[in-house]
């Protein structure tokens, strides 16, 4: 197992390197980052030449790549192209906010999805099962941004008509939330809608998997054996079936991370949350390739890590899986 993990880790590093080269060439060849500056009358040729020299913009692309990689590793992705603003402190700030959002949404999604999935499997073809299936189809067919906007419209109108503020519909914090419990409550009011939006698609996906896994386990031989031994139904379901049905779900959750990023970008844009997604959209709009590349690298590294985690946890949880 250990050699397997080490081998996979090394492989992941190689993948990340190749990805970094792809990302760099892809972003670099597709446009001149100084095109806008060159057109503006306020920028002197000396300034532009200065930036070009500092960022090695006139070198061949492979040389540029090596400079960039060096900067990324030793200098935390360096600075933005205009204004020399350090990239990493910004990303660290927004990452904290995004992690709050993602963890809250995923925890909620996992709990609800497990409950729905298990109950649907135990009552297969019941009204509840069909309702859950319909809603999961609906959840997968609903665009995340549209759901976000509809909730936003709903709660803004509730506020406008009844003067009741249930949830905030934009930003991350109130003007002056206060400290301690007040800060926490304020944060919950701000994050509630984004969390709901983000967890809908996850619930739809996870509950289907959970239902499928649970059905498979319930119909397996060892569950029949457990019943034959005379165990209580509750014990059969909870101790024998449920725990084994959770194994495939861990993989699905880990592999879903890449898709979650898309949801984060959209959700944060709609609600104006100062997180990774909004940072990415703003960087794209500013036309600066450096924060964009840094963001893509960090997110790709996270996705690769979650893929690795999926494989390793599967091996650890399911003794039938052998890595040699």
């Amino acid at each position: 197992m250990l050699t397997y993990i080490i081998r996979r880790l090394l492989y992941s590093v190689v993948v990340l390197l190749v990805a970094s080269f792809l990302i760099f060439t892809f972003v670099t060849i597709s446009g001149d980052p100084l095109a806008f500056l060159k057109m503006s009358p306020g920028a002197s040729p000396a300034t532009i030449a200065n930036i070009e020299a500092r960022k090695h913009l006139n070198d061949p692309i492979v040389v540029q790549y090596v400079y960039w990689l060096q900067d990324a590793v030793t200098n935390q992705f360096g600075t933005t192209i205009i204004g020399e603003r350090k990239i990493m402190p910004d990303i660290q700030r927004v990452m904290g906010h995004t992690i709050q959002l993602v963890i809250a949404a995923e925890l909620l999604a996992i709990l609800i999805a497990i409950a729905i999935g298990v109950y649907s499997a135990l009552r297969q073809y019941s009204v509840f099962d069909y309702t859950a299936t319909t809603f999961s189809f609906l959840g997968l067919a609903t665009p995340v941004f549209w759901l976000a906007l509809m909730l936003q419209i709903l709660f803004v109108n509730i506020y406008l008509w009844f003067d009741i503020r249930i949830f905030y519909t934009a930003n991350l914090s109130g003007v002056d939330p206060g400290g301690g419990v007040y800060f926490f409550l304020d944060r919950v009011q701000h994050l509630a809608l984004p969390v709901i939006v983000l967890c809908v698609a996850s619930i739809a996906t996870y509950s289907r998997y959970m239902r499928g896994a649970m059905l498979e386990v319930i119909n397996s031989d060892y569950v029949r054996t457990a019943r034959a031994k005379g165990l209580k139904e509750r014990s059969v379901i909870m101790r024998h079936a449920f725990r084994n049905a959770l194994i495939p779900l861990t993989t699905v959750i880990a592999l879903n991370f890449g898709g979650l990023i898309g949801g984060v970008v959209v959700t944060e844009t709609v609600f104006g949350l100062d997180g990774m997604g909004l940072y990415f959209i703003n960087s794209l709009n500013s036309g600066d390739p450096y924060p964009v590349m840094a963001w893509l690298m960090i997110v790709s590294a996270a996705v690769i890590m979650f893929n690795l985690l999926a494989d390793i946890t599967y091996g650890l949880l399911d003794p039938r899986v052998r890595h040699d």
Partner: protein, 328 residues
């Protein structure tokens, strides 16, 4: 039996044995023969079974009819829609949906009829989705079949590349691509999308090919002197048609949702071409009172994605009845 009848039709009568096979003065028509022998014999192709199984899936059939209706609406948008998508009705600005008059979906802040705009938006979105589905199928099938058929180093290289593509966060890469490669044109948006989402299909086709290439019929074809291209196209691909069609429907649904998200974020289809995602984005900026501007295009997206998913579900049941459905 039926084959025999068909081949001998019009030829000299043969002694065919089997039920009622005494002496037949002349070849009978299939129906007559069936009637005579008392057994209903009818040529049933594979597609006959697929069709019956699909038709049994009522939700899928209803979805198919609904989708055909929407596609026709989109194709004949110019004739069907009550107004042109950029026509101004200055007497009815920012009007909510009414049944009086013809502004069923209301009008936007410029007084443009929203039903017409949604129909034209649907036209753009469906066109992009169809383009993506077509291109993705070609790319994914080609890469998957080459990897699966040749195996070894070719397979390894192609699949590692596929893994890499899957690693990249899709929406982010798409956004980057549309910013830097330029955007706005539906065809260009479609091509960028297709270049990034062929991975799932490639894996599926590869899987089918890997399991089939060791089968006897491939060996027989090789022994008969068939080349690689012929084996792939004539012998292996027809066996992969089921999974390919099913994942095509999933790709169509995904393409509609992703294109809508791109256009919503301002990196997809650009004005003046209306697209459903862009309509929602514009509706968002026009105030929270004008709820219909956000609601209707979104409902259309949900309806299309839902219908396509149901059709995909029905097709999966029809094309591959042995496959157990784990994922909705």
């Amino acid at each position: 039996m039926t084959d025999l009848i068909r081949t001998t039709e019009g030829a000299k009568p043969l002694d065919r044995g089997g039920p009622g096979g005494d002496e037949l003065p002349e070849p009978l028509h299939e129906d007559e023969l069936a009637h005579e022998s008392g057994v209903a014999v009818k040529a049933r192709s594979q597609w006959y079974y697929v069709r019956t199984r699909f038709l049994r899936h009522r939700l899928a059939v209803a979805s198919l009819i609904f989708l055909i209706f929407l596609v026709l609406l989109a194709i004949f948008a110019r004739r069907v829609s009550p107004y042109a998508y950029d026509e101004l009705d200055l007497m009815n600005i920012a009007q909510g949906p009414t049944r009086e008059g013809t502004h069923w979906f209301g009008t936007d802040l410029l007084g443009r009829d929203y039903l017409s705009r949604v129909i034209f938006g649907l036209r753009t979105s469906l066109w992009v989705a169809a383009l993506v589905a077509g291109l993705t199928t070609v790319i994914g099938t080609a890469i998957g079949s080459i990897a699966g058929y040749y195996g070894g180093t070719v397979d390894n290289l192609l699949m590692r590349f596929t893994d890499l593509m899957i690693t990249l966060p899709l929406l982010a890469v798409l956004l980057t691509a549309s910013v830097f490669l330029g955007n706005g044109d539906p065809v260009r948006v479609g091509i960028i999308l297709a270049l990034l989402i062929w991975t799932g299909l490639a894996r599926i086709v590869r899987g089918v090919f890997l399991s089939l290439r060791e089968k006897e019929f491939v060996e027989a074809a090789k022994a008969a002197g068939a080349g690689d291209a012929r084996i792939i196209i004539r012998h292996l691909l027809p066996n992969a048609v089921g999974p390919i069609i099913v994942s095509m429907t999933l790709i169509i649904a995904a393409a509609i949702l992703i294109e809508a998200a791109l256009s919503f974020l301002g990196f997809g289809i650009q004005p003046p071409t209306p697209a459903l995602g862009k309509l929602i984005a514009d509706g968002q900026t026009q105030g929270f009172e004008a709820w219909w501007l956000v609601t209707f295009p979104g409902l259309v997206i949900v309806a299309v994605a839902l219908a396509v998913n149901f059709i995909g579900d029905g097709l999966r049941d029809a094309l591959d009845p042995t496959q157990r459905r784990l994922r909705a």
